[in-house]
């Protein structure tokens, strides 16, 4: 049971990579059609774009927390301010691929242990392969709202970090497999820049850390060819 989720996550990644590759193949196949048969069709590929985005907002830790009994006058905070950045390749078909990382505070608690203050902060650094697809793939046209909305999923590693400040300062870390799913709306504000709002679920599975985030992102279409 425990190994099932990572295996399926990687299967999904492989499937999406295969989808991406097969989308390229379709275009390539079209390209080799002899001019005599289809002379009017535009066979040029592209445009391709490298898109960088960075964002921040609010995170809410959305799974169970257990505060140690020894902590008196304890206070738990499930909210935090996450930061994320993403580098995507937007090809001439709708399935986009990229990498995402950032820093997501999960939760923190503080209190007193026999009169001494104690504080614990938990955060994760995701390193994910992400796939994104605008909803226009289903029904939209180039100018539709659906074209500006996208779903994004990702899978990869999470570096789970804890920081304890009680009778000293200890920073610990643990690797964990996990996934991410998000929905976004991107609004153009210039030729190269967009503003996006994204709702996102991060899940570091084996560390049992999961958070819901709402972010505003600045999207920069860095290179096009």
């Amino acid at each position: 049971m425990n190994v099932r989720l990572p295996i399926i996550n990687w299967l999904v990644v492989l499937l999406l990579l295969s989808l991406s590759a097969s989308a390229q193949q379709v275009r390539r196949a079209r390209r080799i059609v002899p001019d005599s048969i289809d002379t009017k069709k535009d066979t040029r590929r592209g445009p391709y774009t490298i898109v960088a985005s960075a964002g921040s907002g609010l995170s809410y830790y959305s799974t169970h927390v257990l505060i140690p009994d020894a902590l008196e006058q304890s206070h738990l905070s499930r909210f935090g301010v996450p930061a994320s950045f993403r580098l995507m390749w937007h090809p001439d078909h709708r399935l986009r691929i990229g990498l995402e990382s950032g820093w997501v505070p999960m939760y923190s608690y503080r209190g007193q242990i026999t009169g001494e203050p104690a504080r614990v902060n938990i955060s994760v650094i995701p390193v994910l392969v992400v796939f994104s697809m605008p909803l226009a793939w289903l029904s939209g046209t180039e100018r539709s709202v659906a074209r500006r909305m996208a779903v994004t999923v990702g899978s990869g590693y999470y570096l789970n970090q804890s920081r304890l400040r009680y009778a000293g300062d200890v920073i610990g870390s643990k690797n964990s497999l996990g996934w991410m799913a998000a929905g976004s709306y991107t609004h153009p504000i210039g030729r190269r820049f967009r503003v996006a709002g994204e709702l996102k679920w991060y899940d570091a599975v084996s560390a049992e850390n999961a958070a819901f985030t709402a972010e505003v992102q600045l999207v920069w279409r860095a290179f096009s060819w």
Partner: protein, 421 residues
């Protein structure tokens, strides 16, 4: 392309909608733990120990079972428990005598270690005289046979399935060390106490163990504690958010904020040995060296508790395990090696050079008959670790060459050892 449109959502539902199943085996029975043995006098207890044939219930527990008593000490009080070890699915029973009846009644639970099956059990001890069952008073005339009849059930349900055990022969009396891994058993086996806790040490005898292996590490401030893994993780501890190596935390931090999976504190080595000496009848402790560093503090604690055991009149051996060349170097660096029993897991040449009293090869190296016989001829004790597969446990016991087995399934080792003829 169209098939992918169907495949993608299906895979996502499986991957992200599929819940990870939590396995649990909550104890359905709360032990009264009353001191003394009530109507189960020493004579009754002695008569009850043996190998029994299972008639009703054999599909669930196998055709033969072993009945063996164990005890817990609290000061001068002792509490007695009857364990039943079966040959099927690593199942065992933990029972205590009921003081509220005129007959010899045993209440408790049964559990299978290979899955999460657990349930209540209620048994009555009787004697078969001329083919008829009658109350057993502790005196068994020649020709009479002990029969234990009762009911067992699933989970917390009232027992309703019949179980009948009939005495067949006494237990195998040959000396043999049944050593329980991780101080009594693994957390992964859903035991009622966490591995490497004081609670599991107190439970070890009821799981068939005559000895325990403990995993010793140092905290950041040099306190020897029991903990198996390299890191704090949810397999072993309750969720507190803290991660990283145990060695990066001080004992004060761990004792305040970290609890083992069943809520116990991570015990210091001294707390663990205190429990072994003063609460249990265990005869052997194997201190597994999980640390890299000086061995002097462990040696000092070993010698302190060997002395305490002698003073308490206990037949107890505490040995330091040497599983790696790092541990070997730590041992060699000790200034004084007198009164420091060791167990060497390395090859026979190193064991001989160290003059270790115990050689403990891993079981995957096979029976190693020549080496085992040679080491025994030199007066050494030979144990094998960590053997969990029932077929091999039976085979190793029947070969009669090893002096003990370290296992996560001490009830299985107990079954095959005590039933061996």
């Amino acid at each position: 392309m169209k098939r992918y449109c169907y495949l993608v959502p299906i895979l996502f539902v499986i991957a992200f909608g599929g819940c990870r199943k939590d396995y649990e085996a909550p104890l359905p029975y709360t032990f009264i733990n009353s001191s003394g043995s009530g109507r189960f006098s020493p004579a009754v207890r002695q008569a009850l120990e043996g190998v029994y044939v299972v008639s009703d219930g054999s599909t669930q527990f196998g055709s033969e079972v072993v009945l063996k008593w164990s005890y817990l000490l609290e000061g001068t009080d002792s509490t007695h428990y009857l364990s039943v070890f079966t040959g099927l699915d690593a199942a065992y029973f933990n029972l205590e005598g009921s003081a509220q009846t005129d007959s010899l009644v045993l209440n408790g639970y049964w559990r299978k270690l290979v899955n999460a099956d657990i349930g209540l059990a209620r048994l009555v001890v009787q004697a078969k005289h001329n083919g008829r069952l009658q109350a057993f008073s502790g005196n068994l005339p020649a020709g009479d046979t002990l029969v234990i009849k009762g009911l067992y059930g699933a989970g917390k349900n009232t027992p309703s399935l019949p179980l009948t055990l009939q005495y067949r022969r006494p237990l195998n009396k040959k000396p043999f060390n049944i050593m329980a891994h991780r101080s009594g058993g693994r957390t992964a086996d859903l035991l009622p106490a966490s591995e490497n806790s004081v609670a599991i040490i107190k439970l070890a005898s009821r799981l068939g163990a005559t000895g325990v292996e403990m995993d010793v590490r140092y905290t950041k401030d040099g306190v020897p504690v029991l903990y198996h893994d390299n890191t704090l993780n949810l397999r072993l501890i309750e969720k507190s958010g803290l991660t990283g190596s145990l060695e990066s935390y001080t004992y004060k931090q761990l004792s305040a904020l970290v609890r083992l999976i069943n809520g116990e504190q991570i015990p210091t080595l001294e707390e663990a040995l205190e429990a072994v000496v003063y609460n249990t009848g265990l005869k052997f402790v194997w201190l597994d060296t999980k640390y890299v560093g000086p061995m002097d503090p462990i040696q000092a604690i070993q010698q302190k508790y060997l002395q305490k055991a002698r003073q308490a009149g206990r037949d107890l051996n505490i040995v330091i395990g040497l599983p790696t060349t790092d541990a070997l170097d730590s041992y060699k660096a000790l200034k004084n090696k007198a009164n420091t029993p060791i167990l060497c897991e390395l090859d026979t040449a190193i064991t001989r050079n160290l003059n270790a009293g115990i050689w403990a090869p891993r079981w995957t190296l096979g029976p190693q008959t020549d080496e085992v016989l040679a080491m025994k001829a030199q007066g050494r004790t030979v144990y094998v670790w960590t053997l969990d597969e029932p077929t091999f446990i039976e085979e190793f016991i029947n070969q009669n060459k090893f002096d003990g087995i370290l296992s996560n399934y001490s009830p299985v080792v107990a079954f095959y050892h005590y039933t061996e003829q």
